[in-house]
Symmetry: D2
Subunit: 353 residues, 4 copies
Amino acid sequence: MAQIRVGILGATGTVGQRFIAMLEEHPQFVVTALAASDRSQGRAYGEACTWRLPGDIPTPVRSLVVQAPRPPLDCDLVFSSLPADVAGETETAFARAGFAVVSNSSAHRLDESVPLLIPEVNPEHLALLDGCGAGGGKRGFIVTNPNCSTVMLALALAPLAARFGVEAVAATTLQAVSGAGYPGVPSLDITDNVIPYIANEEEKIERETLKILGRLNGDRIAPAPFPVSAQCHRVNVVDGHMAAVRVKLARPAGLAELREAFAGFAGEPQRLGLHTAPAYPILVRDEPDRPQPRLDRDAGRGMSLTVGRIAADRVLGHRFVVLSHNTIRGAAGAAILNAELLVARGYLPGAGS
Amino acid sequence: MAQIRVGILGATGTVGQRFIAMLEEHPQFVVTALAASDRSQGRAYGEACTWRLPGDIPTPVRSLVVQAPRPPLDCDLVFSSLPADVAGETETAFARAGFAVVSNSSAHRLDESVPLLIPEVNPEHLALLDGCGAGGGKRGFIVTNPNCSTVMLALALAPLAARFGVEAVAATTLQAVSGAGYPGVPSLDITDNVIPYIANEEEKIERETLKILGRLNGDRIAPAPFPVSAQCHRVNVVDGHMAAVRVKLARPAGLAELREAFAGFAGEPQRLGLHTAPAYPILVRDEPDRPQPRLDRDAGRGMSLTVGRIAADRVLGHRFVVLSHNTIRGAAGAAILNAELLVARGYLPGAGS
Amino acid sequence: MAQIRVGILGATGTVGQRFIAMLEEHPQFVVTALAASDRSQGRAYGEACTWRLPGDIPTPVRSLVVQAPRPPLDCDLVFSSLPADVAGETETAFARAGFAVVSNSSAHRLDESVPLLIPEVNPEHLALLDGCGAGGGKRGFIVTNPNCSTVMLALALAPLAARFGVEAVAATTLQAVSGAGYPGVPSLDITDNVIPYIANEEEKIERETLKILGRLNGDRIAPAPFPVSAQCHRVNVVDGHMAAVRVKLARPAGLAELREAFAGFAGEPQRLGLHTAPAYPILVRDEPDRPQPRLDRDAGRGMSLTVGRIAADRVLGHRFVVLSHNTIRGAAGAAILNAELLVARGYLPGAGS
Amino acid sequence: MAQIRVGILGATGTVGQRFIAMLEEHPQFVVTALAASDRSQGRAYGEACTWRLPGDIPTPVRSLVVQAPRPPLDCDLVFSSLPADVAGETETAFARAGFAVVSNSSAHRLDESVPLLIPEVNPEHLALLDGCGAGGGKRGFIVTNPNCSTVMLALALAPLAARFGVEAVAATTLQAVSGAGYPGVPSLDITDNVIPYIANEEEKIERETLKILGRLNGDRIAPAPFPVSAQCHRVNVVDGHMAAVRVKLARPAGLAELREAFAGFAGEPQRLGLHTAPAYPILVRDEPDRPQPRLDRDAGRGMSLTVGRIAADRVLGHRFVVLSHNTIRGAAGAAILNAELLVARGYLPGAGS
């Protein structure tokens, strides 16, 4: 089967580099175009990019010349990790030019006609695309993945919402510095320190979670009806976002039932055997001191959440701690899994051509 | 006025060292005895102790010989920072021998007849001592300060409880490594990592807070009647505990009212002008990214809390972030302030004599 | 071909865990016995061991019962990562009982009859074993690998010694906390800090380097004749030791020649294609800011050194910076590569039987 | 006595903030003007500056309006911590306009007519100013302090050069992130990592050290004649630069003699009792694991060096480890001490008027 030719917008950034690393040996996608909004335009990627992941730049992309992020690019699909301030117009332009845009940027996440997708949680939201003629291959479209903290919160809540119903959620996050990109958080700000603030993050988590867990109603998503509260902190960790979550369930639930709901959860990516899908979307650890970012972030090659410390909570009823790799399941891996689902559902062949 | 002669139990530990540093130039207390349960017994403190605070061991205590933590010691009052497993019996023995015991250890905090004291919050709980004849100078007694996280939670809640009433509290902590003593947390566990577990900490916070905010009822404390939920994390910070707090108030309150309740709070230590009392028990910062451990832990020479990020909360109504220095306001400074209040209230002269 | 059955002494420690992780899918070795000197004796490894590497304990060893580190054990070869204070007698006992002992401990490294082996550097030192009848399979023997810092210094110097001659070496190390084992370095000592001291480390590096680079002279090793100076520091890094090295060469050498000597270096493990041998023992990076522990420690699956910043030095003539993974090439991987060379050279079959 | 009115160029940067904090209660200097090359121009300092030191902005400077860094400013002397790229021309312009410029920037350090001053080491180099008519009050002048690592190296070498003679020096530094200013080093680059590179730092240390230890020869400085080698590393420490130094002395010296040379060293600031001068420029610690950045950087209120690990070295003869606070003795404090010496020597009254 012919590989789908993909371009990466924001190719020199931290998430762009993750895209390149994760796509290096992907069976369905081959990187044929790179674009960035910075000074790297016009230079070979191997020279223009300061690679910040362990190891080296994959050989095939070294000689690709970095282009401006404007359509057309020599590809069928673009992965976008552009900065928020340029992503909005750029992604729209690519979609209008007929490209499938699979974006990690926040610009279009809350657009009414754009799916905010976690393939294990709300694959039915892809129906939003049908009105665009996307399935017909005539026009392009945009599919987004959630904010790096939202994805772990919404994915962890999905089995609880399905089994017990959710009435309120209070999540307190401890987020890694890689979530801020590069150069991102100055070391002077975070060494021997915590910063109890990430711009716009609390609002993103509160809104995106409700859209993801919302119900498809014709060609709209009706947001889930419960309140979500997020308090966000930056901590001195390289990779791996953690959230301490308290949840009020609609029905009584024993701790063993909660554990089983998490551990037994699977979705369409697992049923379809998508390439980037982990065997288990949620791993449960029973040690009292897990999950931990350094020990658990790479679970399922960075695509599995790890949940631990499931317990009764005096205020909201239940609580747990969840962790995920913020630049894999929380960014590049999320987008790639979205693209794989689009392929499996037949949305991709022909897009951009 | 003659200084009160004090002994320090657990003198070689991290809190013991803080006691010695804070008492170096204290106008009311002079260190005349040191004791520890470790191998330092029988040696001069200057040789036996590996000093882990910046600077040097204060000269006057260098030549004091470390003794076993058993009464009698050559002093009138003992500050105790013994490990929990030896503190229980040892502190009881000192109290029975007629000493005033001002303890930072957890062993007796929940004893019915022992005040768990924050001088700004519940000075009236000292009445528990009156039944012991403490005021009469016949017998010794024990006064404790809270756990290093509880003290900041209870002190921050005090003005809210007084002005608005509190109906529920959910606190998520990010705690410094110095809270675990020395050697404490292995660097292998905390570098590039977070540990979502501190043994017994969540239970301590949940129970101690309710005792402190409880009401004196004859010779008993009736715990405050609202639920408290704590989720605790160890983060890679040297000093300074932080808590993200959500609170349900009994009465509606605007954010400006909350701010004013925090910033305008003062208690008996401020009215009495106690030596270790900060001018303001709670400082409010309005920058969006404060409080931060490294920037705010030394506020009020480590005795002031810093509160920030006061906001509405979708789940419990209000929220804020609070920070305090865990080995000063959270340990040694808390105990010294307790002792200063005991002096001012007349409980100390004659104790131990 | 039948696998060689191996036991691990010190199986619950950080290096012991690395042994188990690296041997999980090894084609020649199968773990059949685990021993430790701690409280884990008598319990199944899966329950007794607090696993501190990412992921989980490999399934096959979970049910092995941890035994006391005394011969006999049900295996042909033992890997030893025992603490220095128990390694000396224990390893001797195993060797006398006929076992091949491949040790990472320091106890026997400087023994006259024990090879201190880096397979790429001094495989000929294995001749020390011939006097013991080791090749004949009658008796056991001990083979050691160097200290975690020595291995990178000696391996980096080997091509320089061979091509240009070495007259003096001054190495300043920046070492990771994992080198101290677990619990090892307290976080209170290393957060926002550097410790310019590692007990006995400077002496070990100075002596071991000269033995490794020494010449086999009959049944003795004549140490290399040049002075080595080491200054050692512990820094806040999880894994990856770095050394800033100045070297005085015996012959003039251009920087390009040095680069070529490093990059072109290979030894017997590469020629023999040993399983754990990296394709390149030394990788050279030309970026001005490399090597870096987090980016380069996993090069060659932790078995390749990374050298950078090759430059002229005003005092000693040349300088460079070298980095290696201290618990892989510097410990468990070093021992496993040693064992692979022993197999290839015919020292192992029959040992211990 | 009237205070000297000072301006601060680069007032919003990390060193500018240190200047303001250190001058808050200075007996001789009062801050009357603030300038910066960034967007803060035209705004009150209290609003324009994001204060990154513990505590708050001193009240007196809050209302000063930040100006462009161009003469004239309402002051007699300017302290400069401008970025290197703007410092050159700006400082020259201020000197030509008649101001005394006391600079922490590197632009003019190696100018032939500019003293590169450490008051304890080379106060006689101030004679370079006499040719400028500086003493006569007609024209302005520039005096610089060394790079933050050079100051500790040159100050530590001074007593050795005086007592034993120095023939070669090899220094390996471990430098704090605050040395790179703000935002400076990205946390992604330094968490769980070391960077073996600081742009131009090795060259600066090698050249500046020789100028400082050079001899005044008429109106020129003849650089010291020995080779200096520096290898520089950035480590995950907030404040406090460390150097591991090997030194070849001209005469034999016992370790006790070295210790005495360091500990007994004093210079003109100590004799004159300058306000910012520490009682002891160099403190010697005999514990095997000192100096350490977190424990020793504040010695002498940040103005004392701490030397430890004095030992024989197999390659160069002697070695030691030295530490100093890089933004106090290595930057703002160095410049203030320089200014105090200028006042004491009569260079300042009338300058700029």
